[in-house]
């Protein structure tokens, strides 16, 4: 139990470091909502390696603490909505994916993340914000593929550092 807690805490620490470091990188595309989302690597990884419940804890802590470190209250709402959507989709994906298909989870998680963000934007700005959904989906596939593959490769090598 204690070991599992330490392992979760370590994953959270890694996720937070990635999150904070990524926030320092200037955005590649000057559109709000389009970013790499590297911290997603940890979410995908822990989903398959430590289980759904632990992942929810790691994700929630990362979103909350990450927003305290860097970000405004508004970005917290977007982050939280995106994170919840992302988590639900990953929960679903976990049931139908094999060990070698973890990257798919990253892709669909990122798409769902964009969906959650768009939902918040629709509530705040009206249905005009829906026009951002295709763009966020597009960027979600690209960034999700990247983060998903990262998680895949880490997971492939997990036998070297997991006991």
């Amino acid at each position: 139990m204690a070991k599992r807690m330490v392992y979760d805490a370590m994953l959270l620490a890694v996720a937070l470091i990635i999150f904070v470091v990524e926030a320092q990188i200037p955005p590649l595309v000057p559109i709000a909502g389009v970013k790499l989302g590297l911290a997603n690597i940890i979410t995908v990884y822990s989903m398959f390696r430590v289980g759904a419940g632990d992942t929810l804890a790691i994700l929630a802590c990362r979103v909350i603490i990450g927003s305290i470190y860097c970000g405004q209250p508004v970005s917290f709402i977007y982050s939280a909505a995106g994170g919840i959507m992302c988590y639900l989709v990953m929960l679903l994906m976990k049931r139908i994916l094999t060990e070698r298909q973890i990257w798919v989870c990253g892709v669909f998680g990122a798409i769902a993340h964009g969906g959650g963000q768009t939902a918040v934007a629709v509530v705040m700005f009206g249905t005009a914000a829906l026009s951002y959904l295709p763009l966020l989906t597009l960027s979600g596939i690209i960034t999700g593929l990247f983060t998903g593959l990262c998680a895949q490769y880490v997971s492939n090598r997990s036998k070297y550092f997991e006991k």
């Binding site: 000057p30 709000a32 139908i96 298909q101 798919v104 005009a128 989906t137 597009l138």
Partner: protein, 126 residues
């Protein structure tokens, strides 16, 4: 499901969202606004222009001749002192407007609705 299936599903979603994105943003914000002393006096849909034409705008103490062609607009002639506006050349997009300071004349590309500005975090016009 097989990995191949997932690759195909991802590719399909990618193409569909790519097409939708293109449809959403293609040809958007291509309306030119001619602003004189802070008031919009003319709106021109640049993509609807088939044949080029020119017209004059009378301002305080002078005129600006505006040339419109398909997808672009410029000030082709002016009797203002510095003629910065004429030297700007063609305007077809982007957020930098043509400005004629002496005549208080601005030509800018309208940016769709203001809600888009709020979401994307870009500033107001000008």
């Amino acid at each position: 499901m097989k990995t191949k299936t997932w690759i195909i599903v991802t590719a399909v979603i990618f193409v569909v969202s790519g097409v939708l994105t293109a449809a959403m943003f293609w040809g958007r914000g291509r309306t030119a606004e001619v602003v004189l002393d802070g008031r919009v006096i003319e709106r021109i849909d640049l993509d609807a222009v088939k044949e080029g034409y020119s017209f004059d705008v009378k301002c305080d103490g002078g005129y600006n001749r505006i040339r419109v062609e398909h997808g672009r607009i410029c000030i082709s002639d002016s009797d203002c002192p510095d003629c910065v506006c004429v030297r700007y050349g063609w305007l077809s997009g982007g957020s930098v407007p043509i400005v004629c300071m002496p005549h208080k004349l601005v030509i800018r590309i309208a940016d769709g609705d203001d809600e888009t500005d709020a979401v994307s975090g870009r500033g107001q016009h000008g």
